[in-house]
């Protein structure tokens, strides 16, 4: 059924969406511009569409988790984002939550008695 594939995709999307903010925040200790971030995430196995990432960066900035600066020195102007102190604090708390979750998920799905 075609519906199965669609459902699966939308569920995967939902699953991924929750981890996206964490993925982005994890990379933002040092200033980075958007596309460099896409690539550094890709290298580590996280695929994110630029047309999802760029709006997300703006949103995180408006929430005060990131700050940005335009670098006009190079061949073309680039906007560099970086975690704020507030962003760092939130990130570390999200990370704790993530670790708790992965441990719990491991228990739920990883054991031998887990049926697939």
């Amino acid at each position: 059924m075609g519906g199965d594939k669609e459902l699966l995709e939308s569920l995967q999307l939902e699953l991924r969406r929750g981890t996206l903010i964490l993925s982005v925040l994890s990379q933002m200790k040092e200033p980075k511009y958007g596309y460099a971030l896409v690539q550094s995430l890709l290298e580590k196995g996280i695929t994110i569409d630029p047309n999802t990432l760029y709006p997300l960066l703006r949103r995180l900035e408006s929430q005060g988790l990131l700050e940005s600066e335009w670098e006009t020195g190079g061949s073309k102007p680039r906007k560099y984002y970086k975690r704020t102190d507030y962003g760092a604090r939130i990130y570390s708390e999200l990370l704790d939550e993530w670790n708790r979750m992965t441990q719990a998920m491991e228990k739920l799905t990883g054991g031998e008695d887990n049926e697939r």
Partner: protein
């Protein structure tokens, strides 16, 4: 078309969909992104294909406000919409049906079956078109109000907090207590303490109908005289002084309506409903006394107008021609006071007996 032109067009298609304040910055960002991606992808065209439909792209920038009414307001919105719809639609339907049927032109002439059918048809067509217009209007207004609340992030939680602590008057839970604790759970009301929604809604509908008639068609209250090819209404109220009388009617009705809305929202007898019932009953009685005993409510020329309208073919009974306004007022007033008093007594009884919740179980 060269690459530069292509990029410009693409960016324009994205940013024109965004709020003005964001356009400049976003277009710089996109410039950067497309430049970076094009180096990777090999060509601008491939990059744009990968980025996809600019309209979809723009939507992602607008993610925060892509709903008109969010989940926080949705339930309340639906409830208010249903109630407002029901009240307005029924009220308007009834009033415009009556108005359509009694419209004058149709009745001048012999009142044969054909004319009656015509009158009914005209009545229903007016009623249907007015009702549809009203429904659309009510839908629009309610939706608009909630959309504005959504944008302004009006805090409905304070209201929810009150709902949680419905019995707070006796449980001494502060209404301002924003933090929910199981203590603010009001006890499940006794069956007889529950106020049926239908009751309140019917009341509200009748009040709305009455208000509309009093405002737009006070002539309806009167004697309808059919004399051959002429239909006349002789108003029973003093329409010359109507601008003085009407406000008191409306105050009384609106107070009653406020009481019914409170009943609808609270949904059970409790102290708040009881006090509201007593206060609104009191205000209604004061207004009624004022209307019936102080204001010149009755049409002073009713008898003469009635005799003129009837035109000697039939002599109306004497009590109609010279009706004694003072005693009629007294009888009506007494009736109204009894109705209000019964309502208050009923509410107080049910509140004290079933509504306080402490002995809900022992009574069943």
């Amino acid at each position: 078309m060269n690459d530069k032109e292509l990029i410009e067009r693409y960016i324009y298609q994205v940013v024109r969909r965004l709020p003005k304040g964001q356009r400049e910055e976003v277009s710089l960002e996109l410039q950067e992104l497309i430049g970076d991606m094009a180096e990777e992808e090999g060509s601008v065209e491939a990059t744009l294909i990968k980025l996809g439909d600019p309209a979809e792209f723009a939507k992602k920038y607008m993610d925060d406000s892509r709903h008109l009414i969010g989940p926080a307001y949705y339930d309340t919105y639906l409830m208010v919409l249903k109630i407002a719809m029901l009240c307005a639609v029924i009220a308007v339907f009834v009033v415009s049906l009556a108005e359509g049927i009694i419209s004058r032109e149709l009745w001048t002439g012999d009142a044969d079956v054909g004319r009656v059918v015509l009158a009914l048809i005209s009545g229903f067509s007016v009623a249907f078109s007015n009702t549809i217009n009203t429904a659309i209007g009510v839908f629009g207004i309610v939706t608009l109000v909630f959309a504005i609340m959504e944008r302004q992030k009006v805090d409905l939680d304070s209201k929810k907090g009150k709902n949680w602590s419905v019995s707070d008057l006796k449980d001494n839970v502060s209404e301002k207590n924003a933090v929910w604790t199981p203590k603010n759970l009001s006890p499940v009301p006794h069956n007889r303490a529950i106020i049926k929604r239908s009751e309140s809604i019917v009341n509200i509908i009748f009040i709305v109908i009455f208000c509309v008639l009093l405002i737009f068609a006070p002539r309806f209250f009167g004697m309808i005289v059919v004399d051959g090819d002429l239909v006349q209404t002789v108003p029973i109220f003093n329409l010359e002084k109507w601008h003085v009388i009407l406000p008191f009617f409306l105050i009384s009705l609106l107070v009653a309506m406020a009481d019914d809305i409170l009943r609808l929202v609270v949904g059970r007898y409790n102290l708040r409903v009881m006090f509201s019932s007593i206060i609104s009953g009191g205000i209604q009685i004061v207004c009624d006394v004022f209307i019936l005993k102080v204001l010149p409510l009755w049409n002073p020329d009713f008898g003469i107008e009635l005799e003129n309208a009837i035109n000697n073919n039939y002599v109306p009974p004497d009590f109609l021609v010279n009706f004694d306004t003072v005693s009629v007022s007294d009888v009506i007033l007494a009736g109204l006071i009894i109705i209000v008093a019964l309502e208050i007594i009923g509410t107080v009884y049910k509140t004290l007996r079933y509504g306080l919740g402490k002995d809900a179980k022992s009574i069943t």
